[in-house]
């Protein structure tokens, strides 16, 4: 059994799974139940100045019968009185000394306001403090949340105010609603942060109602951008996480954004997350999902020979690179396992219409045939299935784009097989140095391709 304990910037928890600062961590009673279910920690729903919420707060993106692949919200920070939250925070920490209880705060941009809140949070016995620089709606209109996260100087300054007062570890939560995540991250580091967390939610409009033409959700006929989260945002979160690792950020990073299964969790760990925060999946299915998050992660770690979570963290960062450093001579082609193929032809139409026209339909006699080649008077399951052509990749023409692999509905039916290109490894960066004219002039490129035997289809 793998050891799931973590020590994240001095914050310890029995497993890496924390509730993200959000509706699931709105009250002591909820977090108490979450801890009973097995959550390793909880980042309390952000506390701060008085707010009033609106009714109708969530919009969702459903697709293909799957509910809530993405959810957006216009809910604000906690609308419960500060005193109530702080009292419950102290009670929960007392009841659960082994779990991580982390406060999240957002206050007016004045040193005194931050000093006061830091002191009051530390009085609860909380293990850490997360600074919410990410909330993209409502609070940002009041100069807080993402209004801070989007301005690196602001970000640095407020962090330094907090660090002057804080004795517990401080995590700065970054907004993804910026062009380069590295800039606010560096600002937070410059302000003295102990750790970072990302991503907060993404600016979004969930949907437009086709009957009323109003936005979804409609708040008395009006709607606006809200914070987007859920499975659909995971690739964006992974990229931002990797970007920090690639830029040499060594501070602990708490990863979040669409984590739904232990597999998602493992990917975040591999790209450098030292703890994991979950919201949407819990909002969809409840606290109980933590059981498989832990169980699945533990079994995977056992299978891979990892003993502790720390062993996993950042293991894939060395694989993160840039296009200019990719080997242009590396070659794969798609190969279809005819034993597994169900002949849906999705690879054929994807390749033919939108990729490189290198998948053929081949009949039983080995001849290439067009689609819809059957006689209009033939019918029946036997005739249909017996005469159905088989898809086959023309490997010489395949650029190895991997579109067919992605559209194939059968697991492991299409394999991307490495084949020798017959060329020495070379990157664009190297080529730009050794043959600069090739990277600047189409005629030179043409000559280079001919010389190297590179055929572009």
């Amino acid at each position: 059994m793998a050891n799931l304990n973590i020590n994240f910037a001095g914050i310890r928890s029995p497993n890496p799974f924390w509730l993200a600062s959000a509706p699931p961590s709105n009250s002591g009673a909820q977090i108490h139940r979450a801890f009973e279910a097995g959550w390793g920690g909880a980042v309390w729903k952000t506390i701060g100045p008085p707010v009033l919420n609106v009714s109708n707060r969530y919009g969702a993106w459903h697709h293909g019968g799957q509910r809530m692949l993405g959810i957006n919200n216009v809910e604000l920070i906690s609308d419960r009185p500060l005193e109530v939250n702080l009292r419950e925070m102290a009670e929960v920490k007392r009841a659960w000394p082994d779990r991580a209880v982390i406060a999240s705060a957002m206050v007016e941009s004045k040193p005194q306001a931050w000093h006061d809140i830091v002191r009051r949070i530390e009085d609860t016995g909380a293990d850490g403090l997360e600074l919410n620089y990410g909330c993209p709606h409502g609070m940002s209109e009041r100069g807080m949340g993402s209004a801070v996260g989007q301005d690196p100087e602001y970000c640095r300054e407020i962090t330094s105010w907090v660090m002057n007062a804080a004795r517990i570890p401080v995590i700065v939560k970054l907004t993804p609603n910026i062009t380069n995540i590295v800039l606010p991250a560096r600002a937070a580091i410059a302000g003295g942060a102990n750790a970072l967390s990302l991503i907060n939610t993404i600016n979004s409009i969930a949907a437009v109602d086709l009957d009323t033409f109003e936005l979804t959700p409609s708040i008395g006929g009006k709607g606006g951008h809200g914070g987007y989260a859920g499975p659909a945002v995971k690739p964006i979160a992974l990229n931002m996480l990797a970007a920090l690792g690639g830029e040499g950020v060594t501070l602990p990073i708490s990863g979040m954004g669409g984590i739904t299964t232990w597999k998602d969790a493992a990917e975040f760990l591999l790209l450098g997350a030292g703890s994991l925060q979950v919201c949407t999946a819990v909002m969809h299915y409840g606290y109980r999902i933590v059981e498989d998050l832990c169980d699945g992660l533990s079994n995977w770690m056992d299978a891979k020979g990892f003993v502790t979570v720390a062993d996993v963290v950042g293991k894939s960062l060395s694989r993160v690179s840039d296009f200019k450093d990719f080997d242009l001579s590396f070659r794969v082609v798609a190969r279809i396992d005819t034993g597994k193929c169900i002949k849906c032809n999705l690879c054929y139409v994807a390749c033919n219409d939108t990729a490189h026209q290198c998948i053929d339909l081949v009949n039983a006699a080995g001849q290439v045939v067009p689609p819809f080649a059957y006689d209009v008077r033939s019918n029946g399951k036997d005739e249909s299935t017996a005469t159905r052509p088989q898809t086959r990749v023309r490997e010489d023409d395949c650029v190895g784009c991997r579109l067919c692999y992605n559209v194939c509905p059968v697991d492991n039916c299409i394999e991307m097989v490495e084949v020798p290109s017959g060329r020495e490894p070379v990157t664009w960066d190297q080529l730009s140095t050794s043959n600069p004219e090739v990277t600047q002039d189409w005629e030179a490129m043409k000559a280079y391709r001919e010389k190297m035997g590179i055929h572009v289809h």
Partner: protein
């Protein structure tokens, strides 16, 4: 066991069920289900339209290929056609194509010109004899092209076998009549109680119309030429009675059904569902050779119907005009005959009696009557690739031309569609 009656066996899909099922379809390209469908409905396209809640578009997609989509959704042997070819069938469950098609049809009750575009009047007139699936399909397809079509139907109600000859638990009468009304909505005129050969002749039609399509179907159940045959009930009449007046229908306590095709299966099901204590199907060959589909065989076995294979009736036993039993002889199989199935021969001295108080026969229909003066092929009306008979301008389709292949509703619909295309070419180009 409590009788489950003859109401439609499968309940309609609810909207949410249809949405979930339609999303399961993986949207194959040049899909095998489309090839397997005799009318080649673009099945993935209509299913995706259900998933996007474009039900009018789904209905139109179906009707473009098959005007009798509501009937076919119910009566097609989908296990042998579209669903049998579904790529998900091998590892999972095939998509419930038939039920999704029924959903799309039922959810768009107004399937007239609002869904199907109609060309301006062409001035040409076509007669169709018989309002079964082939006739209605041909009539509707011609009406779409702007031709004035009159359908002559000998019975009181339109629809042919869909109305009278298919067990209610697969297709209720109302579905068939609704569909006939839909075809009328496209501009087709249907004259019921109007029979070719009785009320008018082929020359009358040739004189009044630019082309004629014969979809007259087949006759009553064939004669078996055994003693007491007059006491045997015609299987098609048995089904008709169950649909038209099931409450008044007499059902025997011990019913024997002769035959093992689709109609025989329906008769046995009716007997069982309407209260018979014992229903036995007898067939002179074995289970291998019977023409009923495997799923039909499974279905009636689950209904509690018994089978006696390699059994041939030789005489109906009766007392005071009431059937008391059926004298039968055991059979053995020999070499394949003209139909490709193994022939059956009586075993000498193997006669026995099956007690029965009602005997129903469903051993295939009589071939169409021979009074039209048209060339025949194996007893059926002979047609060429364009469904044209030996007389130019007279076309035919459906069961009356089915010398080969299985007689089914969907095949008849496709005949009507292809014939309509050929008739259109003929009358608009004036080639003759």
């Amino acid at each position: 066991m409590e009788s489950k009656g003859l109401q439609e066996a499968l309940p309609p899909l609810r909207a949410q069920e249809a949405l979930v099922e339609s999303n399961r379809c993986i949207f194959c390209y040049d899909a095998p289900c489309v090839h397997a469908c005799p009318t080649h409905i673009d099945i993935p396209r209509f299913i995706k339209k259900i998933s996007t809640e474009n039900l009018k578009g789904a209905a139109r997609t179906i009707l473009e290929a098959n005007l009798l989509g509501a009937t076919c959704a119910r009566v097609c042997p989908v296990q042998e056609l579209c669903e049998g070819a579904c790529v998900l069938g091998a590892d999972h469950k095939p998509i419930a194509i038939g039920r999704l098609q029924r959903f799309a049809m039922d959810e768009v009750p107004d399937r007239g010109p609002a869904v199907i575009p109609i060309a301006p009047p062409s001035g040409y007139k076509v007669a169709v004899a018989g309002s079964g699936p082939a006739g209605l399909s041909c009539a509707g397809e011609l009406a779409k092209r702007g031709h004035a079509v009159t359908v002559f139907e000998k019975r009181e109600l339109a629809g042919g076998l869909s109305t009278y000859g298919i067990i209610g638990l697969r297709e209720p009468v109302e579905t068939s009549l609704d569909e006939a009304r839909m075809i009328e909505g496209l501009g087709v005129r249907i004259e019921t109680n109007s029979e070719l050969g009785r009320d008018f002749g082929l020359p009358d039609l040739q004189g009044r119309f630019d082309a004629v399509f014969l979809s007259v179907g087949l006759g009553a159940i064939a004669e078996m030429k055994i003693a007491g045959e007059e006491l045997i009930i015609d299987g098609l009449e048995y089904i008709e009675q169950s649909k038209m007046n099931g409450i008044a229908m007499r059902i025997g306590k011990k019913v024997t059904v002769i035959g093992a095709g689709n109609t025989a299966i329906d008769c046995a099901t009716i007997a069982k569902r309407l209260g018979s204590g014992q229903v036995t199907m007898i067939y002179r060959r074995s289970a291998e050779e019977m023409t009923a589909y495997p799923h039909e065989y499974e279905f009636v076995k689950n209904e509690g119907v018994e089978f006696r294979f390699l059994t041939q009736p030789v005489k109906v036993l009766a007392s005071a005009g009431q059937v008391t039993g059926l004298r039968c002889v055991r059979m053995e199989l020999g070499a394949p005959d003209a139909s490709g199935r193994r022939s059956a021969h009586p075993v000498a001295g193997s006669e026995f009696t099956l007690p029965a108080d009602q005997v129903v026969k469903a051993v295939g229909q009589r071939q169409p009557w021979d009074e039209l003066g048209l060339a025949r092929s194996r007893g059926f009306i002979q047609v060429n690739e364009d469904f044209e008979t030996s007389v130019p301008g007279i076309f035919a389709g459906g069961d009356c031309v089915r010398a080969r292949g299985s007689a089914s509703t969907v095949m008849a619909v496709q005949d009507g569609k292809l014939a309509a295309a050929a008739i259109h070419e003929r009358i608009t180009q004036g080639a003759n």
